[in-house]
């Protein structure tokens, strides 16, 4: 039995996507902690952008349930308008962005809008927020997902946030200026995208599961990356920092 939760490992995997010195469009939920973890470990020079209009070069000193919580504003290096932040994203200043979704497909397209027919949806989901902008405009995209067959259909019924579309050079063809999904961090593993085809492939399975279980939990015949391996477990230091950030386990339990 692992001495950490899947969510704690997901925070670690998300933090590892952040390279030192990068500008990160942080988003909601687990990435709020991943940004703090990266800042306190391998990426002390990373800068966080928050779409409510904040730029931070230090993590918040308290757990955030939303990016607009008061502790995230105290100590910000800039408090401004959403359109100003989105303008930086649109110019290509964000090296990495995080988004989550209800459904993700074989080419990393995300649905956070409608399950089923848009006019008579089986489930009305909340919508894009800033997710579609981050997916459109960040240089690299990291997707955070709970992993099961329902959430991983071969093709999403509605593209809220564009991934690699139909694969190949789709993003270029539709005119997106850059970017595309680089990683999908799930409760079961970490997936990436094959060069050229941009089809999702398994890069690592988490220590408490197997590659076969990940494939069985995916709604299409998931490819396996040539260098597939087990996800490195969190270090004691990483777990200590996560638990300092989220002592009650609001996001990580």
């Amino acid at each position: 039995m692992a001495d950490y939760t899947p969510q704690e490992l997901m925070v670690v995997c998300a933090a590892r996507e952040i390279r030192d010195g990068e500008v990160v469009f942080v988003g909601m939920r687990l990435p709020l902690i991943a940004f703090a973890l990266a800042k306190r470990t391998h990426a002390p020079e990373a800068v966080g952008l928050f779409e409510n209009g904040l730029v931070r070069d230090t993590p918040s000193r308290e757990l955030l349930l939303t990016m607009g919580d008061a502790p995230n504003i105290l100590g910000a290096e800039w408090a401004t308008r959403t359109t100003a932040l989105m303008g930086l994203l649109a110019q290509g200043h964000a090296n990495l962005g995080f988004v989550g979704g209800a459904e993700v497909d074989r080419f990393g397209n995300l649905n956070t809008s409608y399950i089923g027919d848009r006019a008579h949806p089986a489930v009305k989901l909340p919508g894009s927020g800033g997710g579609a902008d981050i997916a459109s405009l960040a240089r690299r995209l990291a997707i955070i997902m709970a992993h099961d067959r329902k959430r991983f259909p071969a093709r999403v019924s509605y593209i809220t946030s564009p991934g690699w579309g139909e694969g190949g050079d789709w993003r270029v063809r539709v005119g997106l200026p850059r970017g595309g999904p680089a990683a999908v961090i799930t409760t079961l593993g970490v997936l990436g995208f094959a060069p050229e085809t941009h089809e999702m492939e398994l890069r690592s399975w988490h220590p408490f599961t197997t590659a076969d279980e990940v494939r069985a939990s995916t709604g299409w015949d998931l490819r396996i990356a040539p260098d597939v391996r087990e996800t490195p477990a969190p270090t004691a230091n990483e777990l200590r920092i996560i638990r300092e950030c989220d002592p009650q386990g609001f996001w990580t339990h």
């Binding site: 909601m28 928050f50 779409e51 409510n52 209009g53 904040l54 349930l65 939303t66 990016m67 607009g68 919580d69 008061a70 995230n72 504003i73 105290l74 910000a76 408090a79 401004t80 308008r81 959403t82 359109t83 989105m86 994203l89 649109a90 809008s113 848009r118 008579h120 949806p121 089986a122 489930v123 009305k124 989901l125 909340p126 919508g127 894009s128 927020g129 800033g130 997710g131 579609a132 902008d133 459109s136 405009l137 509605y158 593209i159 809220t160 946030s161 564009p162 579309g165 789709w170 993003r171 539709v174 005119g175 997106l176 200026p177």
Partner: protein
Amino acid sequence: MTTKLLPLDEAIRRFVPDGASIALGCALEPLIPFAAGHEIIRQGKRDLTLIGPISDILFDELIGAGCVSRVIAAWVGNVSEGLGYNNRRAAERGQPHPIEIVDHSNYSVGLALLAGALGVPYIPMRSLLGSDIARNHPDIRPAPSPFGSEATLLVPALHPDVAILHVQRADVEGRAHVWGGLGICEEAALAARGVIYTAEEIVPAETILSDPNRVLAPAMKTFAVVHVPGGAHPSPVQGYYNRDHAAYAEYHEHSRSPEDFAAWLQEWVLGVPDRAAYLGRLGAERWQSLAAREPRLAAPVDYGY
């Protein structure tokens, strides 16, 4: 001097007619004008168009109360808890009645209001290309840049009938100071025909005029200023009170069924005459537990010459 100070019920009665388009929740998660939204529900407004980015639960409440016929927004739900049950019931089953949904992203709804603020018919953007938000949108249109070959989407201007914004402080002449992340408050204030400010404090004009850079929009855009301490609860107001996370969890739990929501609405909206009574129902202990714990004053700036 003309005073724009009004009681909340009169401001809503005068400036939010049935059928109006109203921008709300423009700072995203903080400064959400819940007290004004609850007064809209108490007055039984109908056929409203709601405009906003991430509305948190206020849009869900207004939809569930039957005030809304159209939603122009990037996200409707409960930020720390997930889905909004009233939004789901309206979209999935037409309960309490069907709503028209015009989907945006935070950037595109901000640009629509910015276009309104700038007095131009549209603004081009490079977000949402290839998305179903753009494909299904009734007004967003693709067009190549006339200055190059880039694909763009044209986002047409929005002009809300009224923007309702909660702020830290305002004067009676209609000028407001607001600080923290601004979201799309400035764009909404300038694009709207007029603004209702609900304010934690009403301060002398000299206080506002001492720092004109902190004023959100000119008084010519102001319909009314309303003094509503605690008017953003359960959302946070920087320097005044923190987000009441538990209230979002309670709302989530108590809006699962239409019957649960009707009871919640009776307890927290219909059954209280105003915000003071609402805060009374919340209880002094809980309200005080949310108060800002330590002042963190900015350094003064010098406008002297």
